[in-house]
């Protein structure tokens, strides 16, 4: 090594680099059956789960769900409202149209009760407001989509106080997310992240059934959320 190279390396080792964040601490990854089949199997790494991201790769149905912690993403709590912005939910449709989009019947939602408004967004996700019912006294929001047909979907849930834990629905892995209000973002095209949903409050249960991914957001506890999920045929 010549003198110049040595001097350059000395400079490199004397630079005041910003501290490297512990990316691994917030990393939650899950794969199902290697890369063969997609499942929801969050593996929490460390106690300080600041953020959870959920990625589904439709093109390779080898499929994985990756839960990935993203600290520092600039989403201010103050920008998140508790109101459902229906404009974010896509086009209002009837149940038949939503069923056709998902290729699955939606007329019986079990203990989730009755759908109020139904929306279909451009990525093929169906959003249903749930009317208040004995199980859901304040109603809720049910999102259903086929992850294999939803292009390059990345869902992120942001909240410093967020907690995510693995649970089961019908014996299958599911994720229970609790915390204060948090937002959900979608990668609408590679590199373009949009706040697709301006709010999400209370708790959320995410599970899969018959090739569809479900997310129930409601002010319910885990036990009731699982009971509602398992009641949906």
């Amino acid at each position: 090594m010549n003198e110049l190279d040595t001097r350059l390396r000395q400079v490199g080792s004397s630079l005041d680099w910003p501290n490297t964040p512990d990316l691994g601490r917030n990393l939650i990854l899950s794969v199902s059956g290697g890369r063969r089949r997609r499942r929801l199997v969050p593996v929490l790494v460390g106690a300080m789960v600041v953020v959870v991201a959920l990625a589904m790769i439709p093109a390779t149905r080898d499929d994985l769900l990756a839960f990935f912690g993203i600290r520092g993403l600039v989403i201010e709590q103050g920008e998140i409202t508790n109101e459902i912005d229906v404009a974010e939910l896509g086009m209002k449709v009837d149940l038949t149209t939503a069923e056709a989009a998902l290729g699955a019947p939606l007329d019986d939602l079990g203990r989730a009760g009755r759908a109020g408004a139904v929306f279909l967004d451009s990525a093929g996700r169906v959003w249903m407001t749930l009317e208040p019912s004995p199980a859901l006294r304040q109603g809720g929001l049910l999102t259903i989509f086929d992850a294999d047909r939803t292009p390059d979907l990345v869902k992120r849930v942001f909240d410093p106080a967020l907690q995510a834990r693995q649970v089961t629905v019908d014996g299958q892995p599911a994720m229970w997310v609790t915390g204060d209000d948090h937002a959900v973002l979608f990668e609408v095209e590679p590199g373009t992240i949009e706040l697709a949903e301006g709010r999400l409050s209370g708790n959320a249960l995410i599970w899969e059934s018959d090739e569809l991914t479900y997310r129930l957001e409601a002010d319910v506890d885990l036990e009731l959320a699982i009971a509602i999920a398992e009641s949906i045929p």
């Binding site: 010549n2 005041d16 910003p18 990393l27 990625a55 080898d62 994985l64």
Partner: protein, 176 residues
Amino acid sequence: LTVERARQGDSHAFGELVRAHQRVAFRVAFVITGSPTEAEEVAQEAFLKAWKNLGSFRAGAAFRPWLLAIVGNEARNRVRARSRRLLRENRVAVPDLAADDPAEEATRAEDRRQVRRAVESLREPERSAIVCRFFLDLSEVETAAVLAIPRGTVKSRLDRARRQLVASLELQGDTT
């Protein structure tokens, strides 16, 4: 072995890879974006993409250059998203020198400042090659991956940079 386990879908193995490479990934992202916050986001995105694409990663290939190519690409996309004009004008960021060690000879500290200034005065193509190769301590292959240029171009940029630095630092005959 760790890479192979990760390729087979072992998320814990991938976690090991993240921890092993997060520092270099973060620093590469930092020199391109110039922002610690963006660098963290870029590094996260890059690891996420790496995880998604591990299936297409060639078995037996070196993981680090492959990862750093993703990081470099992600970081440039981030800068490009700010403004196309900024991307053209973007210069890799170099942190300041850490505070001098009082126990160290003043001449050595001054030498480092001199070298850093000389690097700053280089044109961007040569400067970025020097920063990657020496400040980030990347190999030539990794430098090529980060900058998305052929390895031969890295060599020629480094040669050119060395000649200019030697002239600048009055280090006669120090280009071999």
